[in-house]
């Protein structure tokens, strides 16, 4: 053993010091406005803006602006300013029914040098020329510009945030450790400019911001998840998520329903039924996406059945060339409401 000791010391010196990811604990609730900022101690985090835009000519567009922060397992001792201790990436997409396909673009960079950053004090995300910031008056401003489109939007909250799960502790699997911190800002009033090609158009609309961060999100059996966020015309907001296994069975499900009066119902796994309906098969990837599911939600005293209709079927987003996932993220509507549906892990299991 004495001869082994120096060797072990050597190994200890050579082995990287990997990050110690912070756990999601039910007893520590989400506190606003503190938690608008980034949480770099956790493995992964996102700012997910989706919404519908109305153009002066009566045209409609769906849009998505998403910023992700991830903490890769790199040696924490590396003093280099280039060490990939935090990586920021972002996706933006525009759904134009006349075009029938998404325009989308992405950015990715290691945090650092002020070129890519996720501030901790408040929402302040910078990724080269893209940004998402929360102003002092509580409004969010974002700028993204990509392949043939650009969005310059101001998002004004009109309702209080929904703390999902138990005060923001949102369980995502049978094990209580499979969880995230999660809150949503529905019914964001949108104003700003949409650029398409060389054309700049003023737009208005309604959007939704999802904020989520975690270190241990998914169950090992999970291959993907479905998410739906609906702004109801009467001011209500429905959030649904469902984690699936390889056979398409739910591993976990949940969400919330806040009615027009502001009463919040947290949904348990048994309260959510997701019937896939007729799938749309992508001509590019061959993946069958259940783009028009029927949702059944059990609320206290009543049952809500919603037939989801996509703005158009082909809202598939393939970011695999840039190292991202293949997913479907589209503008959808239900009778009396509009929102976004996200489908992941249908082509290949989602890795998080």
């Amino acid at each position: 053993m004495r001869r082994l000791a120096p060797l072990l010391l050597l190994l200890a010196a050579a082995a990287p010091v990997l990050p110690d990811y912070a756990p999601v604990r039910p007893e520590a609730p989400v506190v606003l406005p503190r938690d608008h900022g980034a949480h770099p101690a956790f493995r992964t985090e996102w700012w997910y803006v989706t919404g519908w835009l109305a153009l002066p000519d009566g045209g409609r567009r769906g849009f998505q602006v998403t910023f992700f922060r991830t903490r890769p397992p790199v040696d924490q001792r590396n003093p280099s300013a280039f060490a990939a201790k935090q990586v920021i990436f972002a996706h933006a997409a525009l759904s134009d029914p006349a075009r029938g396909r998404l325009r989308h673009d992405q950015r990715i960079a290691r945090a650092g040098f002020g070129l890519a950053d996720a501030a901790t004090r408040d929402t302040a995300l910078v990724l080269d020329d893209w940004s998402l910031r929360r102003r002092r008056d509580g409004r969010f401003v974002t700028h993204v510009a990509g392949d043939g489109f650009a969005l310059d939007l101001v998002l004004t909250p009109t309702q209080a945030a929904i703390l999902q799960g138990r005060s923001g502790y949102s369980q995502k699997g049978p094990d209580p450790r499979e969880a995230s911190y999660y809150f949503s800002l529905p019914h964001l009033a949108v104003s700003g400019t949409l650029g398409e090609g060389r054309q700049r158009t003023p737009v208005t609309g309604t959007a939704w911001l999802d904020r989520e961060w975690s270190s241990t999100l998914l169950n090992r059996r999970a291959v993907g998840w479905d998410w739906l966020g609906l702004n109801m015309d009467d001011g209500g907001a429905l959030t649904l998520f469902r984690v699936r296994d390889g056979q398409g069975r739910p591993v976990w499900a949940g969400g919330s329903w806040r009615d027009k009066a502001g009463r919040l119902t947290i949904l348990k796994p048994g309260d959510v039924i997701f019937s896939p309906g007729r799938p749309w098969r992508s001509p590019r990837t061959g993946t069958a996406w259940p783009v028009s599911p029927t949702i059944t939600v059990t609320l206290p005293g009543r049952r809500l059945v919603l037939a989801v209709v996509p703005l158009f079927p082909d809202q598939e987003l393939d970011s695999r060339r840039g190292g991202g996932p293949l997913y479907w993220e589209g503008a959808v509507s239900v009778p009396g409401g509009r929102g976004y549906l996200e489908l992941t892990g249908y082509g290949a299991p989602l890795k998080m």
């Binding site: 280099s80 300013a81 280039f82």
Partner: protein
């Protein structure tokens, strides 16, 4: 006469002549073929080598639109990166750490020619993918390294294995995660994560490169201007154009020199065509006269001879192109792309057929053949038909002295051209001077023959054979001159090259002795970014058995984007006596108070106009520092410039106390073979793997081997020129002798024996060889002066002391005399084998 008749006549004459003397035609065509082949082959090899070198360079650089590069291996501060990233027009920017490195498992070896060396590149794949995708492979993570195929092969490692890389004085182990798919196959590159590179190789806060991709609508000029205003003193902006110029300037002079040598071979071939054509014209005098009498105009006769020359040239050129392609293939596979010159590293270039250059070289071959036929053609056209109808052979009047002035004018012009400055950095007028001198020398030959033979002619009591030979040469100087052209041309070129190479080699040898006075030399490979720190220096100096140790810091400095870096060498120089460490040229200047003196190599004079007494701005320690040029020293190692500075000054300006080399003197009683391992043990780990120890004798031998290798192709080209020259002599002799059948018959009739005629021919040959050799020698020495004092300084920026290889001269002269006499004898035997009586009758 219808138009068809001359054409038919021309064809008959051409084919008839060729059928009658196939050997002569073949030799002349072969001479052109060899010249064209050499020119074409050298061009192909050069072009492909340059091409592969450029591909290798762009493979390391990954083909960015623009690049900011560090002026020194210490790099620039990384804060520049975000500042440039925010500039409008800069679409993507990729920060890079770039270090010379080596694999620890391959021990450095003086003779190993860089085995184990790799270019270590640290980058952020997320940034690089948009700018230099060829440098991004499958992610290797922090502990992984991606190797180019060439590095994988050269380092003898497989994917998944561990490899320890040493750079900037530190070492770190990596797992080989994969191959760089996009990198050039002949460049040893290792790509790791930029953060790992900064952390483990002592580069925290520093970058060596920023690769930039411009937006599609950006104005490159505006972006360049914006970047330039933001650059610190230790960074410069490079563009692909500047890179190309730099690549080109690296080896341009060498390549141009080789192509010129190949052209010399072609020129010598031209003399052969000239001699073949003039003999053929002389012999066919009566034929031509008959045609003239039958009504063929002068112009048609001129055209006839020119067409013959062109046909010869065409045949020779076509053969030459095929030969050249084959030759280039062999040369590239045997000698490498630089033909042994050491300019292009280890890469193997790929040859393809190049129709453009092939056409050019074939065209040159045809033109040379036609120009060589021009003089004989004019002679044939000018001959008076009535006289020519009856006589064949030389038409000159033996009493008329040959004119000296055309040759003298050419020689004078050559002398003037040698005084001219370089054009576009190339000694083009120097080469023109050589060509003029050659032409002038050849043109003065007829007059010179008489001049040289005049003292011999007055001798009496000579054996009849020698007397006859003398009289003959005296009487037919034009014909003798034809034979002499080849000898003089090839001898003078050979002598010029030989004197230059001998002078160069001798000067290099002297220089090596002067710069290697110590017992042991230590060089740390890839230590440009780090080096041996003061503690390490003290430990090394404390090794038992050392009498004294002098440390040197060598740092490449990039002074201009379109030129290769110059080497700054900080050494313990005594300001008062710099000559103790440097081989000074001229006397050094006193250093004004408050100035930092530097001593520059000769190349700095040419390339940066760094004359003594002027000031240079050097990027040292992150700032541009003014230094005073106090003197010039001789350096054959760095063609692109070297600057010597006192080490105390360097440390003061840069704050860098690390050292990259050391010169060690051992105590008299110390065994040097045992001291070297002790020194290696005294080095800190990481550096020990990079340490190269050398002893002067071995280093000198190696340097001279490299020297000889780089001149090997020169020797080969020279030898070919000489052989063409000798073949020319042989062909001329045999032709002349055959044409003189009647003369021999005549001599036999008046009682001269066969043996005596043989002796006469031998003497003629020997005399011609002697005269040609002496003239060639003299001309060659003059031309060598042009090579030494004009061509070399202008292309390679160094001077040398002239040395004459007398032994070689003696051998050359003897060989020439013997070869000339021998071929004359052989030719004579054939001519004499016929019946003398019939030979005479044939005539009258």
């Amino acid at each position: 006469m219808t138009a068809g008749v001359p054409v038919t006549a021309a064809r008959w004459m051409l084919l008839g002549e060729w059928r009658a003397h196939p050997a002569r035609v073949v030799t002349a065509a072969l001479a052109i073929a060899i010249g064209v082949a050499l020119g074409f082959a050298v061009h192909l090899v050069n072009a492909s080598a340059l091409d592969s070198f450029e591909r290798a360079l762009s493979s390391v650089n990954g083909a960015a639109d623009m690049q900011v590069r560090a002026a020194t291996p210490a790099g620039f501060a990384e804060a520049l990166y975000p500042r440039l990233a925010r500039l409008p027009g800069v679409a993507d920017i990729s920060p890079v750490v770039e270090l010379p490195a080596r694999a620890a498992h391959i021990a450095p070896d003086i003779a190993g020619a860089g085995r184990g060396r790799v270019t270590l590149i640290g980058l952020d794949p997320l940034r690089a993918i948009a700018v230099t995708p060829s440098l991004v492979g499958r992610p290797g993570g922090e502990a992984g390294v991606l190797l180019s195929r060439a590095a994988l092969d050269a380092l003898d490692r497989r994917i998944g294995r561990r490899i320890t890389l040493v750079a900037a004085g530190r070492s770190h182990a990596f797992t080989i995660a994969g191959v760089l798919p996009g990198a050039s196959t002949d460049q040893a590159i290792a790509v790791i994560d930029i953060a790992t590179a900064q952390w483990h190789f002592g580069q925290l806060g520093r970058l060596q490169r920023l690769d930039i991709r411009l937006g599609s609508d950006a104005d490159p000029v505006a972006v360049r201007r914006a970047i330039t205003t933001l650059l610190p003193a230790d960074a410069i902006l490079a563009t692909p154009e500047a890179d190309a110029r730099r690549t080109d300037s690296l080896s341009r002079a060498y390549r141009v020199n080789l192509e010129m040598l190949a052209m010399v071979a072609l020129l010598t071939g031209g003399f052969l065509v000239y001699s073949a054509q003039s003999l053929s014209v002389a012999r066919r005098g009566p034929q031509f006269a008959l045609l003239r009498v039958l009504g063929l105009p002068r112009r048609a006769l001129l055209a006839q001879v020119l067409v013959e020359g062109a046909a010869l040239g065409l045949a020779g050129s076509l053969l030459g192109i095929a030969l050249g392609q084959a030759l280039a293939d062999v040369a590239v596979s045997r000698l490498g792309g630089d033909l042994g010159g050491g300019y292009f590293g280890a890469g193997t270039p790929h040859l393809g057929f190049a129709p453009g250059p092939a056409a050019v070289f074939a065209g040159i071959g045809i033109i040379v053949a036609m120009v060589s036929s021009l003089l004989p053609a004019r002679e044939a056209a000018a001959a008076a038909p009535a006289v020519a109808l009856k006589t064949s052979g030389a038409l000159g009047d033996p009493r008329r002295a040959a004119r000296l002035w055309p040759g003298a004018v050419l020689l004078a012009l050559g002398g003037l051209a040698a005084l001219a400055p370089p054009i576009a950095g190339l000694p083009l007028l120097g080469y023109a001077a050589m060509a003029l001198l050659l032409a002038g020398g050849v043109a003065t030959m007829p007059a010179l023959v008489r001049l040289l033979l005049a003292p011999l002619r007055r001798l009496t009591g000579l054996p009849p054979a020698l007397d006859l030979a003398l009289k003959r040469l005296w009487g037919a100087p034009q014909q003798a001159a034809v034979a002499l052209c080849g000898i003089v041309a090839s001898t003078s070129l050979m002598v010029a090259m030989a004197v230059m190479v001998a002078s160069f080699r001798g000067s290099v040898d002297d220089w090596l002795v002067a710069i290697l006075p110590s017992d042991i030399y230590l060089h740390l490979e890839g230590a440009e970014g780090g080096g041996l720190d003061p503690a390490g220096q003290a430990r090394l100096a404390a090794t038992p058995g050392i009498a004294s140790i002098a440390f040197v810091r060598q740092v490449p400095l990039r002074l201009a984007a379109d030129r290769p870096p110059v080497l700054l060498s900080a050494q313990p120089i005594d300001r008062a006596a710099p000559g103790r460490r440097l081989l000074l040229v001229g006397t050094p200047r006193p250093v004004p108070a408050g100035e930092t003196p530097v001593w520059v190599s000769e190349a700095m004079l040419w390339l940066y106009d760094a004359r003594p007494g002027t000031r240079l701005m050097l990027p040292i320690g992150g700032r541009l520092q003014p230094v005073f040029v106090a003197g010039v020293w001789r350096d054959y190692a760095r063609q692109f410039g070297a600057i010597a500075m006192a080490d105390s000054d360097y440390v003061r300006l840069s704050g860098d106390a690390g050292k990259s080399e050391a010169a060690i003197d051992a105590r008299p009683d110390t065994n040097i073979d045992r001291l070297i391992p002790a020194l290696r043990r005294a080095l800190p780990p990481g550096l020990a793997e990079q340490a190269l120890f050398g002893q002067p004798r071995q280093m000198r031998a190696m340097a001279l081997t490299i020297f000889d290798r780089s001149f090997a192709i020169t020797y080969a080209l020279e030898a070919i020129a000489i052989i063409i020259g000798l073949v020319g002599v042989a062909a001329t002799f045999s032709a002349q002798t055959l044409a003189r059948t009647r003369e021999f018959g005549m001599l036999r009739h008046i009682g001269v024996s066969r043996r005596q005629i043989g002796a006469m021919l031998g003497a003629e040959g020997a005399l011609l060889g002697l005269v040609g050799g002496l003239a060639g020698l003299a001309l060659g020495v003059v031309m060598s002066l042009v090579l030494i004092h004009v061509v070399n300084p202008q292309s390679f920026h160094w001077t040398m002391d002239t040395r004459l290889p007398w032994g070689l001269f003696g051998t050359l002269l003897t060989a020439l005399v013997v070869a000339a006499a021998g071929t004359a004898l052989l030719a004579g035997r054939r001519a004499l084998s016929g019946d003398a009586v019939r030979a005479v009758r044939e005539d009258w």
